[in-house]
């Protein structure tokens, strides 16, 4: 019971698992979590092995690092290699492989690539190096994009003209839609993302029950939150209800954060198309800077090759991201593809399903044994 004992309230965890088992009965339910933070919690705490076999969790495309296609990494590298450029990025992006290596490789070859924690740190680099163009590699869902937007507004307010943003911001709703439209996947409901929802609120998810007839419950990041969300999903199903519910009321409100949404809308507009690794092109699924902010748009200031690169043949990230296969079912998992030498993006970030499983999978099996659990 080691893992259950790690939970804040082991008795509550056991009670939830019992209730889930009872509600699921002889059925078989597949729920997808669309947030990398949830994927991490699920693996870290061996949640899949606490659950009865009647409940299966599928890990969706909720890690923003994992969904950036090869071509965009190649573009980032070519901007980083432009004369005089200081290229700034979150640490997670450094190892993501493009078709000609990663940003880490480009740095080893002499490009000035620096890791930053915040877009504001990137802006500061620009202030400190007024003679050099400083580019920020912006990635992330609505959790992160308002921060980039606020930074661009600050750059304009302070007249920092040598700063620009290479935007790869994506939005949460279109991939959920794409997954619901994909024929090879049968899902019974969604565990909605936590932090993204503090920004967007609950309203944008209403199409999931209204148009697709699937329940969605927004959840927090503790193991108990996830278990409770699963229980809420099953309760809806057993009562014949189907709606958007909020387990994470501690942080998420119905309307989200209106100011963050307003800032986002002031700076960004929706791209007609954006390519997602493994999922292909998804319409209106990403953000670019509005024309008023052309000076701060790296895609307008630099030569961006924009070549489309197919995912590597061996890579099955697409199937993992759609939940069609489990990480360890990929042929190169743990052999050719490891966190040190990732082939696919799901192995790079600690929130990617493959890396999470690689890091915690062993514990997983231990849990199964110590629990004498269902698997």
């Amino acid at each position: 019971m080691r893992f259950v004992d790690e939970y804040r309230d082991p008795a509550a965890a056991r009670a939830l698992v019992a209730r889930i088992t009872e509600l699921a009965g002889d059925g078989h339910y597949k729920f997808m979590e669309v947030c990398g933070g949830h994927t991490h919690t699920i693996y870290r705490h061996g949640i899949e092995h606490l659950l009865p076999t009647s409940v299966e969790l599928v890990h969706g495309p909720g890690c923003p690092v994992c969904v950036i296609p090869m071509g965009r990494i190649d573009d980032a590298i070519s901007v980083a290699q432009a004369p005089g450029v200081i290229f700034t990025s979150f640490g997670d992006m450094m190892r993501v492989p493009g078709s000609r290596g990663s940003l880490l490789g480009a740095k080893a070859q002499g490009a000035d690539v620096r890791i930053v924690y915040s877009p504001l740190d990137a802006l500061r680099v620009a202030v400190d190096n007024p003679e050099q163009p400083v580019v920020f590699f912006a990635v992330g869902f609505e959790t992160t994009s308002p921060s980039t937007a606020a930074t661009v507004l600050k750059a304009r307010q302070d007249g920092v003209m040598n700063f620009s943003v290479f935007s790869n911001h994506v939005t949460i709703v279109p991939p959920i839609k794409a997954i619901l439209d994909s024929p090879d996947l049968r899902l019974d409901g969604f565990i909605g993302p936590g932090h993204v929802s503090t920004v967007v609120g609950q309203r944008p998810y209403r199409f999931v029950p209204d148009e697709y007839g699937k329940p969605l419950v927004t959840a927090g990041f503790e193991p108990l939150d996830i278990l409770q969300a699963i229980q809420m999903l099953l309760t809806q199903i057993s009562e014949g209800r189907c709606c958007v519910e909020n387990q994470y009321t501690r942080c998420v409100s119905e309307g989200g954060n209106p100011r963050a949404l307003a800032i986002l809308d002031e700076v960004f507009e929706v791209r007609p198309q954006f390519e997602w690794r493994g999922l292909g092109f998804i319409p209106e699924s990403a953000l670019k800077l509005r024309p008023e902010f052309a000076n701060w748009d790296a895609e307008l200031r630099f030569e961006v090759p924009g070549v489309r690169v197919a995912d590597p043949k061996a890579c099955q990230c697409g199937e993992v991201l759609k939940g069609a296969i489990k990480p360890w079912e990929c042929k190169v998992f743990g052999t050719a593809c490891t966190p040190e030498t990732p082939i696919g993006t799901c192995m790079v970030s600690s929130e990617g399903a493959c890396a999470a499983y690689y890091n915690f999978g062993r514990l997983h099996r231990e849990v199964a044994v110590t629990m004498g659990g269902p698997r």
């Binding site: 870290r44 915040s118 504001l120 740190d121 959790t143 921060s147 501690r250």
Partner: protein, 90 residues
């Protein structure tokens, strides 16, 4: 990279620049509170910090639970705290 870390607001600095000083895991750092400008953040409030910005106001109980949860994450948590501490937002 999607982690949010709880911090306690200890001081409001330049309101023009939306700066606040927070206590994160016992260390004081500046963060930007522009995104919470409508929520009247005051010293003593707890906020969830992501990439240098306060993204949501939370209560003390949630902050404590979030911290405990994060500590269970081990490496990912220490990396995130380290990153916050290395950041120099002004």
């Amino acid at each position: 990279m999607c982690l949010g870390i709880p911090g306690e607001v200890v001081d409001l600095l330049d309101s023009n620049r939306h700066l606040a000083k927070v206590d994160v895991a016992g260390v004081r750092r500046n963060i930007n509170i522009d995104l919470l400008e409508d929520e009247n953040v005051v010293p003593g409030d707890w906020v969830l910090i992501h990439v240098g910005f306060a993204m949501a106001k939370i209560d003390e109980e949630e902050a404590r639970r979030a911290l405990e949860g994060l500590q269970l994450m081990g490496q990912a948590y220490s990396d995130e705290v380290q990153a916050v501490l290395e950041s120099q937002i002004a």
